[in-house]
Structure formats: C-alpha cells, structure tokens
Symmetry: C2
Subunit: 124 residues, 2 copies
C-alpha cells in the first residue's frame, strides 16, 4: 500500500509573516535547522514561501526585504495526496518541499524530499 502525504509529512512547521524582518527569518531557519519557511497571514493562510535558497539569493543580490525574495505562487500538497503526485511536483518545479494545506489554504504540515527518502528506507 502506497503511503499518503499525511503519513510522511511533518505536522510541525516553522512559519513566518510577510512583514517579518529578513534577518529574523534567516535566524529562525538557522536555529530550527530547516530549509523551508511557509509565509502565512494573520489567519494562518499561506501567502508565500521562503527557502534557504531564497535567503542565499538575498545575500547574492544584496536584497533586504522578505517581500523581495519570497515566492508567492506556492506549489502545495493535500493530506490525502499520493507521494507520487508530490514527487512529480518536486521534479517538475525543481523544488524540495511542499506546504500541506487544508481546504481553506491554511498550513497544516510540510513534506520534503528528505521526509520521502527517509520514509522509503524506513529503517532510519
């Protein structure tokens, strides 16, 4: 039986707000040891995503506002989606993490290539 997103994702997600300071978001990413930070509004609704790659880009180009580096059109997954569909999206867009959202686009989890590769070699 093929696992679904809800069995592989992490339910604990580090998020930030679009008005947060870019250095504060970078410190959050470093302190939590994560690579993906979904950006949410006051109701928890997804409005963008920032990855360590975006922050590297900010360093490269000397950008200093979160709004200048975050991606707004976010590729997401649903709880009952197949892992196949997630890997397909990752491959198509060259991304390594998808926020998991509910029917009102609130962030309820995150699934990454790390989670998928570890799940498939379940011993780890």
């Amino acid at each position: 039986r093929e696992p679904r997103v809800r069995e592989v994702m992490k339910a604990e997600v580090v998020t930030a707000k679009p008005t947060d300071d870019i250095r504060a978001v970078a410190k959050l990413l470093v302190n939590r040891g994560v690579d993906h930070i979904p950006i949410v509004d006051d109701k928890g609704v997804l409005v963008g995503i920032v990855t360590s790659w975006d922050l590297a880009k900010a360093l490269a180009l000397g950008k200093d506002r979160l709004m200048d580096v975050m991606t707004r059109r976010v590729v997401t997954a649903g709880l009952d989606d197949s892992i196949d569909s997630v890997v397909s999206k990752m491959s198509r867009y060259n991304i390594s993490g998808l926020p998991v959202v509910d029917d009102r686009r609130r962030v309820i989890g995150l699934i990454t290539a790390d989670d998928i590769s570890r799940r498939l070699y379940r011993r780890f």
Copy 2:
C-alpha cells in the same frame, strides 16, 4: 536489486574554492539552481561544503567570508555505497546532500535527497 550511489547520483557538480568570494558563491548557487556546493582545493580534493542553509546563516549573522560559514568535516559517499547507507547518514546528521568522492577524496559526483526520492518514484 537495490540501486547503488553511482546509478542515482549526479555526476555534474557545481564546486567552488575556499578563497572564492562568498557573494560569488551565492550567485553561483542561485544561477545553477542548486543547494549544495562542495569546496575543493586546486587538485579537486574535497576540503569543505557550503549549502544554501550556510549562506542563509551568513545573512542571519552578517558573516562575509566563505571560510567562516563552510563546513569542513564533510560526510561523503562512495560510488558503490548502498542508498541505504546514504539515507542513514542523511538522517543521522540532518543533511540533504553528500559529495561522492574517489579514493583520493576528489569530488566525482553529488547525491541528494531529491535524487533519491525521484529515483524511487522512477516515473519522474
């Protein structure tokens, strides 16, 4: 039959030198759309690794020298290692990419969680 590292890794690797400018390395990462840059000496021997996460850390802490952010003790893989052993290392050290080295520790490839998850869902 379980695949080996040589069948899953990417043989084309973006590398940099320890004396390169941190912003130039960040631009390289952005332009090539990668997350991992092995640092090699003049003979191509591995001396460290920089990821988009390290560059995010440089932004967070205001560091501006590659030598201040690169990781020197690099976890690596060999061509004939099992994927199991790679996933085990990724899990143990919370990392998502391993440089593949030859017997003289020269970089001959890179294997990431992205490569592994895509390989296991071979349709993509």
